[in-house]
């Protein structure tokens, strides 16, 4: 049904598009994307807003299935039949396209100044000199909590690590709720919701991440081992048999109201909003001491770039400049709570939970997941190894020091930082 609707819409839009050219010499732009979930938002909100402001340019959003996107896009680019605008995956996948000449250099595009360096880092060359995609959306890590449970037990929202563990202890002592809903069975939960969630506070966000890439810091340094030591302390507060608890199990535990705290990524917001029957709140990863600067993982997820072979490059650039504008950011972020605009201009969000997440940008320094840029190009793959080691540390089968030493050894075996 959705397929037929989609085909219908696409056909209709292509016919209308061609009709448009014939009548008014309109320029038509086609967007390649894997976000077929977002089709309605583009058709009903984003594209009309753009077309209204820029008469003479028509835009078609043409998504494919997420798993097929990379292969289909590569084939289309090689054949020269790809659309004018290309939705960019973060990091190496898009960098590869840029190196092959399938993405245009957008460093000087009007509107790029609206983004911070961190926001642009996912779509830049390794030296940071050339940018090739306009950042669109990111996901933020933090903790979502059951407000009702916190009120019932009289717990204040924790800001420091000490308060955080005191809260967990109190929930555990009460016994009504499982203190924290997380499992280690699927491994990535431990790494993404655990290590990458709380880590930036220890390695000082970008400072530590860039030093790691430059080789000035090592994973065996105190700043990188400490998050593991903290993760190891989570163990007693996880549910019974968390070793065999999967990601959907954790989600269900929390939305059924059986657990009080959920280490989260902001992409959960829309699902949780529809499933949870209680009030929810969110807090940023607690800092070590009151007054410390807080750092959050604000991980780049979606960008949009220009196909250099586009016949309507000027119109496409107009569109990209619009994507870089606060207007786009507001529509996009409100239509998809949990996927935040990377625009530096603050966006007012209607969803309170999403607004809470995005408000941390004002007081905390953002960074991206430490393993994504450059460091996961070789074998053994640092990201995958981090999954395994984070789960080991929480399971208590490996000490934080041993896990970090193993990770650094693996990284040293193939990664030689430029001196």
């Amino acid at each position: 049904m959705t397929n037929r609707l989609l085909t219908g819409l696409l056909m209709a839009s292509s016919i209308l598009g061609t009709a448009g050219i014939a009548l008014a010499q309109d320029k038509t732009l086609t967007i390649e994307s894997w976000r077929n979930d977002d089709l309605a938002i583009w058709q009903e909100k984003l594209i009309p807003a753009f077309e209204k402001a820029n008469p003479g340019i028509k835009v078609t959003f043409s998504p494919s299935a997420p798993t097929e996107y990379n292969a289909a896009l590569n084939a289309k680019l090689d054949a020269g039949s790809a659309g004018d605008l290309i939705t960019c995956r973060p990091f190496d996948a898009s960098l590869e396209l840029f190196k092959k000449g399938h993405l245009a250099d957008l460093t000087g595009l009007a509107g790029m100044e609206n983004f911070s360096d961190v926001a642009k880092s996912a779509w830049q060359t390794d030296d940071g000199k050339a940018s090739f995609c306009v950042p669109m959306a990111s996901v933020i890590h933090g903790f979502i909590y059951n407000k009702d449970a916190f009120e019932k037990l009289g717990i204040a929202v924790p800001a420091t690590e000490e308060e955080f563990f005191a809260a967990l202890e109190k929930i555990k002592a009460d016994g009504t709720f499982i203190p924290m809903a997380m499992g280690t069975k699927d491994l990535w939960e431990a790494a993404t919701m655990g290590y990458q969630n709380i880590g930036p506070n220890y390695w000082k966000g970008e400072e530590g991440r860039l030093a790691l890439i430059k080789g000035e810091q090592k994973l065996t340094d105190a700043d990188w081992v400490a998050p593991y030591a903290t993760l190891a302390k989570w163990k007693p507060y996880l549910g019974d048999g968390f070793e065999a608890q999967t990601y959907p199990d954790s989600q269900n535990l929390f939305t059924l109201g059986r657990a009080a705290i959920y280490p989260a990524g902001s992409w959960e917001i829309s699902t949780f909003n529809t499933q949870a029957q209680f009030k929810m709140g969110a807090f940023a990863p607690p800092v070590q001491k009151a007054g410390d600067t807080c750092y959050i993982s604000d991980h780049n997820d979606i960008g949009i770039g220009l196909n250099p072979k586009s016949a309507n490059a000027d119109a496409a650039k107009t569109f990209l400049t619009w994507v870089a504008s606060p207007e786009f950011a507001t529509i996009y972020a409100n239509a998809l709570p949990g996927f935040f605009s990377l625009n530096s201009a603050a966006v007012k969000m209607e969803d309170p939970l999403a607004q809470e997440f995005v408000s941390w940008r004002d007081k905390c320094k953002p960074t991206i997941r430490s393993t994504y840029q450059v460091l996961s190009r070789g074998t053994p793959n640092l990201e995958n190894e981090t999954w395994v080691k984070s789960a080991n540390v929480i399971n208590g089968t490996e000490t934080p020091e041993a896990a970090s030493a193993e990770l650094q050894k693996g990284l040293d075996s193939w990664y030689k930082p430029a001196k």
């Binding site: 190496d92 280690t184 070793e243 065999a244 199990d249 074998t379 793959n381 995958n384 999954w387």
Partner: protein, 327 residues
């Protein structure tokens, strides 16, 4: 047919003489053999032999600057020489061997016992049991993996509740999440799924034992358990041999159950990583890791050699020594 040779008269002799001369004159080319073999041979070549050699060839090359370069046995040297690659490989091979041992020690003996029980004439509803025990075999791995994950789930699974009913809740462990139990648990799940196959094969072998032999044994006073031990078991040994080799090949090619229950990283801490999952991760890549088809092909070649060696060992050392009985 017993009187065949006696009945051979002069006419038969003539005919054979004739055909002998005939063939000496001009050997007819027997085209039909080639024609009948061709379809199977072509299909087998296209889907089995060519890919096999393609894999072996791939394992001798390396990707340097987006071009395939001949590298000799360098990939094998990396696999065995590099401490990380070799650690992963030996871990996977060790786990695979344990997986196989569990099948041999649990699946096949249970299969034999079930077959012996089923072939007992006193058992009622044997057709029902036969079907019920065989049904898991036809289920998809995905269903089996998912169902057992749910059964053993510490949160919603029936396993902790059932143990609780008999007061043994303290024995419950999140088996799939513990390094020391996960592989054995998965092996037993696989045994549960496939125990129907040895059962069926042995059951068929037992049915083929002539009643005369059993009756003669009974006349000699060999009954009950010793009858099974001394009469039936020796007669089904060739079938057990075949089952062992099928189990060996199946286990060293296994992948699906581990993948569907534990994911491609075969957690916790690679405790359930077998050659199949190791190959999958290497060949296709996983998450941020990009696939390396040359190293993947190297692992696939090693799997092929291991299975080949095992099968040869069986064929030349064991099968030739098995005593067969003709009735």
């Amino acid at each position: 047919m017993n009187n065949g040779p006696l009945a051979a008269g002069p006419r038969d002799f003539e005919m054979s003489q004739q055909s002998l001369e005939h063939s000496q004159d001009r050997r007819p080319t027997r085209w039909h053999i080639a024609v009948f073999l061709a379809p199977a041979l072509l299909v087998y070549t296209a889907v089995m032999i060519l890919p096999l050699f393609g894999t072996l060839q791939l394992s001798l090359f390396r990707n340097v600057d987006n071009a395939q370069v001949f590298a000799g046995f360098d990939n094998f040297r990396t696999l065995f020489g590099d401490p990380r690659w070799s650690a992963s490989f030996w871990n996977a091979l060790g786990n695979n061997t344990w997986f196989f041992i569990i099948h041999m020690l649990v699946q096949n003996p249970i299969g034999v016992v079930l077959a012996a029980l089923l072939s007992s004439p006193k058992l009622r509803f044997s057709a029902f049991y036969r079907t019920a025990i065989f049904i898991p075999t036809i289920l998809s791995f995905v269903i089996v993996g998912f169902a057992w994950k749910l059964i053993l789930s510490p949160l919603w699974g029936v396993a902790p509740n059932l143990l609780d009913l008999v007061g043994l809740k303290s024995l419950f462990v999140p088996w799939l999440g513990k390094e020391e139990y996960a592989l054995t648990t998965l092996s037993l799940i696989s045994v549960w799924q496939f125990v129907g196959i040895p059962m069926m094969l042995i059951y068929a072998a037992m049915l083929s034992i002539p009643d005369e032999v059993i009756e003669a044994a009974e006349c000699d006073g060999v009954t009950g358990f010793s009858q099974f031990w001394k009469i039936q078991l020796p007669l089904i040994l060739p079938s057990i041999g075949i089952i062992s080799i099928l189990t060996f090949v199946g286990n060293f090619n296994a992948f699906d159950l581990i993948y569907s229950a534990q994911g491609a990283l075969a957690g916790p801490n690679y405790a359930t990583d077998i050659l199949g999952t190791f190959l999958y991760r290497t060949f296709f890549g996983f998450q941020l890791q990009i696939g390396d088809k040359n190293m993947g092909a190297t692992i696939a070649s090693m799997m092929f050699f291991i299975i080949l060696a095992g099968v040869c060992l069986y064929l030349f050392l064991i099968q030739t020594r098995l005593r067969r009985y003709q009735f």
